[in-house]
């Protein structure tokens, strides 16, 4: 292998851990990994990808979970002539016991290239590169080991949630349980694509949004509260006494809901002005805590640029209680899917459909009330379809 990949070898240098080293490691035992290394070197030389569109490949009974992939130089790189990936649905919160991980490693060493992504950007375990004939047996062993495939294609994609109540003091909702519960409920929607396009759900425990749900999910659940922040004034003073620059924090409150009374040593707080942005809580976790009347804000439509441009998610339900078995959110999801399925064009994501038909129409059809929290501001144009 030495010297054969001069360009990639450059990327073994430097302090950040090297993926090239990883491929080489796999290549020592695995021919596909070796060809992968060579294809990648060639791309570095040619400045072009050497992968072609995948055909329809997969496992029995599923319409997704596998991304088909072929090399454009199969003669030169026969081991990666077919090089499909499996998307494996991870446990909620990406918590693992080592035995579970080792099982995956063993299976993938047996059937695939030995290369993986922990994780893909949607959150799946990505098993990177295998031949068509290995897909089914690999899948069979995975399910045997307790793992199932995630979503791909025009289906519900693998749901993800932040670490939430497992390790975060700010989780206003049980992100892991919601992720798991919805995943189990919607197995069919995940495995059998039948919608206009992909659909993503992401769940964050609080407005810090540690799974970037608001930017990357068609259906975004973000924990929040309705009552007041809880303030331990003693602990606030303690921060200040230890030299904490409380003014710099207070200054950045977007609503001026908090102010620091230096003389009295009191953090004044106007609950009705607070928009629960988390900022002050983030900076003083020992002194400030979210309120106790908890639930979630539901937003829809986040996505990347294809085709009509990127969208951030839009608030559609300012507050919803989130208690198992999460019937309200499931019902809402089903209604939205039906509406999208009925009205959406091929490759039209929810946001684009809502933009095309109007948020007003969407709310009406779904049966959600129009409240001012849904918009930043009312319309400026006079073009009201009063009677439609």
């Amino acid at each position: 292998m030495e010297g054969e990949t001069p360009l990639l070898d450059e990327l073994e240098k430097g302090r950040w851990p090297s993926f090239v080293k990883e491929i080489k490691r796999a290549a020592k035992k695995n021919k596909a990994a070796l060809d992968l290394l060579k294809v990648q070197e060639l791309s570095y030389k040619d400045k072009i990808t050497h992968w072609k569109h995948g055909g329809i490949v997969g496992v029995t009974g599923y319409g997704g979970g596998v991304i088909g992939r072929y090399c454009d130089q199969p003669e030169k790189f026969p081991e990666v002539a077919m090089f499909h990936t499996l998307r494996v649905n991870p446990p909620a919160g990406w918590f693992y016991k080592t035995d579970a991980l080792r099982k995956i490693c063993d299976i993938w060493e047996k059937y695939g290239s030995g290369m993986t992504n922990f994780h893909g950007s949607t959150g799946d375990i990505i098993l990177l590169g295998t031949k068509t004939e290995n897909l089914q047996p690999c899948f069979d062993e995975l399910t045997e080991a307790g793992f199932d495939l995630g979503g791909s294609g025009s289906a519900l994609r693998t749901i993800s949630g932040c670490v939430g109540p497992a390790r975060c003091e700010w989780a206003m909702i049980d992100t892991l349980d919601i992720t798991y519960n919805l995943t189990m409920e919607f197995q069919d929607e995940i495995h059998r694509p039948r919608w206009p396009y992909k659909f993503k759900i992401k769940i964050s425990g609080c407005p810090n949004d540690c799974v970037a749900a608001i930017a990357r999910a068609d259906f975004t659940v973000i924990g929040t509260w309705r009552d007041s922040i809880r303030i331990d004034q003693e602990a606030v003073r303690d921060y200040v006494e230890k030299g904490f620059d409380i003014e710099s924090v207070v200054k950045k409150c977007p609503t001026e809901a908090i102010s620091w009374d230096r003389e009295k040593g009191v953090l004044n707080f106007v609950a009705e002005d607070c928009t629960r942005c988390m900022h002050c809580i983030n900076k003083m976790p020992k002194a400030l805590r979210p309120g106790l009347d908890r639930g979630a804000t539901i937003l829809v439509g986040g996505k990347a640029p294809i085709v009509k441009g990127a969208y951030l998610s839009w608030v559609i339900v300012p507050f919803m209680k989130m208690e198992p078995p999460y019937m309200e959110v499931k019902e809402l999801l089903r209604k939205i899917w039906d509406w999208w399925d009925e009205n959406g064009r091929t490759r039209e994501r929810l946001a684009e459909l809502i933009e095309r038909l109007g948020l007003k129409q969407f709310l009406r059809d779904i049966g959600l009330p129009a409240v001012p929290q849904i918009v930043y501001r009312p319309r400026s144009n006079p073009y009201v379809f009063l009677r439609r």
Binding site: L11, T49, F83, G93, A166, Y180, P207, C277, L312
Partner: protein, 354 residues
Amino acid sequence: MARTDIGPPNYRDMLPEIIKRNYGKWKYHEIIRPGVLKHVAENGEELYSVRVGSPRLVSVDFIRDICEIADKYCDGHLRFTSRYNIEFLTDKKENVDRIIEEVQKLGLPVGGTGNCVTNVVHTQGWIHCHSAATDASGIVKAIMDELYDYFVSMTLPAYVRIAVACCINMCGAVHCSDLAVVGVHTKPPKIDHEKVSALCEIPTTIQSCPTGAIRRHPDPNIKSVIVREDLCMYCGNCFTVCPAMPLADPEGDGVAIYAGGKVSNARKPPMFSRMIVPYLPNNPPRWPEVVDVIKRVLEVYAKNARKHERMGEWIERIGWEKFFKLTGIPFTEHHIDDFTHAVETFRTTTQFKW
């Protein structure tokens, strides 16, 4: 017949005991040093998390390596973060240093917490994707080699989240990152007419184009399409639905750089990233021009922003014209939006800086 629809393992089975005991009962946390979080439960129990950088594209042996550490110090438990970092979880404070030591032996950095540059959300690139206009892992490596010190420290004004995507599908979080690199094609699709007839559904292909650049081939005998090149902005959506229209081109392909996006609702609402450099050529293996821009912007930000101020919050406060001045990045006509909601970006005031 194999089992289907079993779903993922139940997360409960994966949680360490201390988490099971204190699930939903955490009181506060501290970052006791870069890369090490201490979470304290209502009952006073303490959980230590050691966060470790990963290249994401890893071999099964890498996973086995980290499993070994987890077995030794974490009762066989670990987790990954939403940005690919590995977290070793232990209730024993004394294990923290040992974990760090072992991890460093593997050549992995401990950090990624607080006001740092944490791991880069990224995508497949030339490793696996047919759409790629650039590589992903390679650019990430080149950037993080350079920004390594920012990963293992917490000296920035606020979080800096970087993303890399290999095409404008933007798998990941490019569109809302503090700094982002995205692969761009800059040549219209090259049409293989024979393959079009064989592989592509013509109406779907025509409809796929957001700018209406694709037309039926004028010659009715040729069952294919043509592209009006002046209407094409190289989005690649046609290639997604029709494999006979590749855009990739060694000369044309390269990357654009974006800045100022964010996701959290802390302080300012989430923001989109905005284009700061329309195009830089692919220059593997280390993309020096790209790394240079990223580093330069990061440093100008670090020097000028106020405490707690994210990149985009800082730029919006000082004004984009000032941003271009401070960074020395040239402003061009390509920075001016001409897509659907472009008018919302046009300045409707005499207020601006020189």
